[in-house]
């Protein structure tokens, strides 16, 4: 019984984790500019993330070590620096844009400019990390994050033409504005497949004390959670396609996105949109900061746990303290949060090879996973994701220059 409670919580957690500033921004941009045509990229991103989460969760549950632990142990310090540097840079950008997301939601609600909110938001996040336990961070933000279901309500209320949506779920080639189409595709993938998500997830498996017993829970969590999370992202794309696209509104600023729900649901939609943006971005802020501190601590062998008093893991606590405050700076000096988000998503997409390809080696190592190594399906998926990640690495920068902003 307790286990199924965990499943439910896990599913909820991954919704909270999946729908955050990057997904909301990129899927509404895609909906506004290309209708349903980019929905298939969301499906692709969701499936990929589901596989990666299942694998890193399995890795942690079986080996009792996190993905970051194993990156250092099995590949050595020299190689470890590569994913570490990539994850630090990229997730720092994502972190800054999440803080931007919370700040912009508060700006829309109060009229006080987002740049004033960055530091208070960072301080509140820090206080929660300082005093709270892993359970509070994980489950608290996830339960509150359920408010994101409003996107599904909004999309249904707009009565989309389902056959057209269905066609959008199948891959298609752009008819016009190719560069922008692929640029948004890359952004969506960067928003869906974020390394912090699986680094956090595998550390979370250790924090929650997962063992081989939890492999079923892991599979259901990674599968269902991403199904729901991805579903909600598709809903935000649908809503944007029906509210913004017919009016030829392009999303240049976060402020424009609230219309997507205000239009079908009225004042309630507007308020719930602000709540969703605020809560999911805040939740992601905490998860990213923790993911980065976990990765540092595990890679260097420091004491770490969100359940320990900061005095017992001083380097870990210092890492998250410094990171969350630093990440508030770009927003506090007034960088446009949407620009920040788009750059962060493309950078994320480009960083994927260094965290995806090593996973392939680990997932086939019988010393680590005993008889739970990857089967043909997982290996096939992982090879596909690895190839995709290389394509993203090559395409990301040219597309950013060609069609970004």
């Amino acid at each position: 019984m307790k286990k199924w409670g965990e499943v439910a919580l896990g599913v909820v957690t991954s919704i909270g984790g999946f729908l955050e500033v990057g997904s909301i921004a990129t899927s509404t941009q895609a909906g506004a500019e290309f209708g349903y045509r980019l929905a298939w990229v969301l499906v692709l991103g969701t499936l990929s993330l589901g596989f990666l989460m299942e694998m890193t969760g399995r890795l942690a549950a079986v080996s009792q070590r996190t993905y970051a632990d194993l990156l250092r142990e099995r590949f050595g310090y020299r190689f470890f620096l590569l994913p570490l540097a990539a994850v630090l840079v990229v997730s720092f950008l994502v972190l800054a844009s999440e803080i931007g997301g919370v700040s912009i939601a508060l700006q829309m609600a109060t009229g006080i400019s987002f740049s004033w909110w960055a530091i208070p938001v960072a301080l509140l996040g820090w206080a929660l990390l300082w005093r709270g336990t892993f359970g509070i961070v994980e489950k608290g933000t996830a339960l509150l994050g359920l408010v994101a279901i409003v996107f599904a309500v909004g999309a249904l209320k707009l009565h989309p033409a389902w056959p057209a949506v269905g066609r959008g779920l199948l891959p298609s080639m752009p008819r016009d504005d190719r560069a922008r189409y692929w640029y948004l595709a890359v952004s969506i993938l960067g928003a869906s497949i974020s390394p912090y998500l699986y680094l956090f997830y595998s550390a979370g498996a250790i924090e929650d004390g997962w063992t081989i017993e939890h492999l079923g829970v892991n599979r259901v969590t990674a599968g269902l959670g991403n199904l729901f999370g991805g579903g909600l992202a598709v809903c935000s794309l649908i809503a944007a396609a029906l509210v913004l696209a017919p009016r030829e509104i392009r999303v240049d600023r976060y402020e424009q996105i609230a219309m997507v729900l205000a239009s079908p649901l009225g004042r309630a939609g507007f308020v719930l949109f602000l709540a969703t943006l605020c809560i999911t971005c805040f939740g992601s802020t905490l998860e990213i900061v923790l993911a980065l501190a976990y990765t540092m601590a595990q890679g260097f062998g420091w004491n770490w746990s969100e359940n320990l008093k900061p005095g017992k893991d001083a380097r870990f606590a210092t890492t998250y303290t410094v990171l969350i405050l630093l990440a508030a700076v770009p927003v506090a000096i007034g960088l446009n949060p949407l620009t920040l988000t788009n750059v962060a998503m493309v950078a994320t997409a480009a960083s994927l090879p260094v965290t995806v390809i090593p996973l392939f080696v680990l997932m086939n190592d019988g010393d680590i996973l005993l008889k739970h190594t990857n089967g043909w399906l997982s290996n096939g998926a992982l090879v596909f994701i690895a190839l995709l990640s290389v394509v993203l690495l090559v395409a990301a920068v040219p597309l950013q220059l060609l069609a970004g902003g």
Partner: protein, 126 residues
């Protein structure tokens, strides 16, 4: 006891002290060579200098430049004789105490000078 794979199972492995506190990883492993004798596994090294050397000369130079810039003189490196090893498994347990290790200098410094000056840092349980 069977064989131990030094590169695979020892280098970069998690180290814990006798109270199971995490005290870093095996950043370098020193071997003693003597003619006519098998190489002896002599010392476990923990510390930034040992790690930097593994990356390459450019990294050592970069690190030196940064340390000069921030006026960091003392190297906080721990060298622990291999006979302090109590157990080799998922992690390696050493018969040492975290508080007496030179490589834990930063942890102790941060704890005393920064972290514990902020309310709510100390205590047993969160």
């Amino acid at each position: 006891m069977g064989g131990v794979n030094l590169a695979h199972d020892v280098l970069d492995a998690q180290l814990v002290d006798h109270r199971q506190e995490k005290i870093g990883r095996v950043d370098a492993l020193l071997l003693e060579l003597e003619d006519g004798r098998p190489p002896r596994v002599a010392t476990i090294v923990i510390g930034g200098a040992a790690r930097a050397r593994r990356v390459g000369p450019w990294f050592v130079a970069l690190r030196r430049a940064l340390r000069w810039l921030f006026r960091q003189r003392a190297e906080h490196v721990s060298r622990i004789p291999f006979d302090k090893v109590r157990r080799i498994g998922d992690s390696i347990e050493l018969d040492v105490d975290e508080r007496s290790l030179e490589s834990e200098h930063l942890e102790q410094w941060l704890k005393e000078r920064v972290i514990c000056r902020i309310p709510g840092a100390e205590g047993e349980q969160k």
